[in-house]
Symmetry: C2
Subunit: 197 residues, 2 copies
């Protein structure tokens, strides 16, 4: 199972022997660190090093770089889908804004995903689909309710937010401010209940 994958598949891949699972987990979190720091081009040897594990071990668990990416992101992408479901009973704008905030919060530590999202691998095409399935209705609903501007596609939105995740900020507050600007730009011109500004 190397390309299509859904949640259960990811779980099923977790190895069973105790030491193996320990290493697997160490690798995943080392990889998150490394890719967050250096982007998708981060070195696999550094990942192994940081996980305190031989390079051979990394390659047995993740025969290709892509396998490693999959394990990193599949869970999170699905969580994004769940978040969308949970937000369904919020008012349209709050639902959209909440989901987008979650989107940024998620990818900001994982620039590699955003980086890769435009690339053309089967796996990432699936991730894209899953994300779009989750988020697009939220935008549509907000637009239908007249609280999000109508001349914007979900794709536009994702790219805008992806960009936001890609730069470094002086402090978390700045990210919040910048994100606030973007969300505000997304808002329909007349739409009222202006919260905090």
């Amino acid at each position: 199972m190397t390309s299509s994958g859904s949640a259960s598949a990811n779980l099923a891949r977790r190895p069973k022997r105790a030491d193996a699972r320990r290493n697997y987990e160490a690798l995943v979190s080392a990889a998150q660190e490394v890719f967050a720091e250096h982007g998708a081009a981060g070195s696999l040897e550094e990942v192994a090093r940081r996980a305190g594990v031989g390079i051979g071990t990394l390659y047995r668990h993740f025969p290709t770089r892509r396998d490693l990416f999959e394990s990193l992101y599949l869970d999170e992408v699905e969580a994004l889908g769940r978040t969308a479901a949970e937000l369904a009973d919020q008012p349209p704008w709050e639902a959209l804004a909440g989901w987008l905030r979650r989107f940024v919060e998620y990818t900001v530590t994982k620039r590699a995903l955003a980086e890769e999202l435009s690339h053309d691998s089967e796996f990432f095409r699936n991730c894209r689909t899953e994300i779009y399935t989750a988020g697009e209705p939220l935008l549509a609903r907000a637009q239908a309710a007249g609280v999000a501007r109508a001349d914007v596609s979900f794709d536009d939105t994702v790219r805008l937010l992806s960009g936001i995740t890609k730069v470094q900020y002086a402090d978390p507050g700045q990210l919040d401010r910048v994100l606030g600007i973007a969300l505000d730009g997304l808002r329909a011109p007349g739409s009222a209940d202006n919260p905090d500004r």
Copy 2:
């Protein structure tokens, strides 16, 4: 002259012998291509290859990677300064928006700059300063005139726009739309003359 540099310095560096100047120019434009494609980590050997020049030649003209960056960006950063001056007689919002659009247009083909702008080298600190000197007053003026929201710093603005330059777009129209959203978010809530939406 490897660190501080202003316009004339950059011009002065241009070599005089005909073949040398030819190579220098080929290198600069090859470097623009390569860094636009691969980001700041692009390979110098690829630059030399693409310029049709030996690697030794590259290193004589640009002893360090940074020297190469300087030559690429100094001119452009200064052009950004000049643009700010030219826009000074426009209404506050148009001046700000125009400059920011120019900023994006400029960096979008040169992600490397945005990438490096946060790093801590003397040269890029100078670029930053120059950019801030050019743009900050435009924001201040727009804020004073009540057409740009007041709770935003110029630094916030630059990061937002830097982010926008960092993702790939399906077509130029999309970049325009996304940029439009961002600029709209930057706008003061009540500010009237809504142009195109």
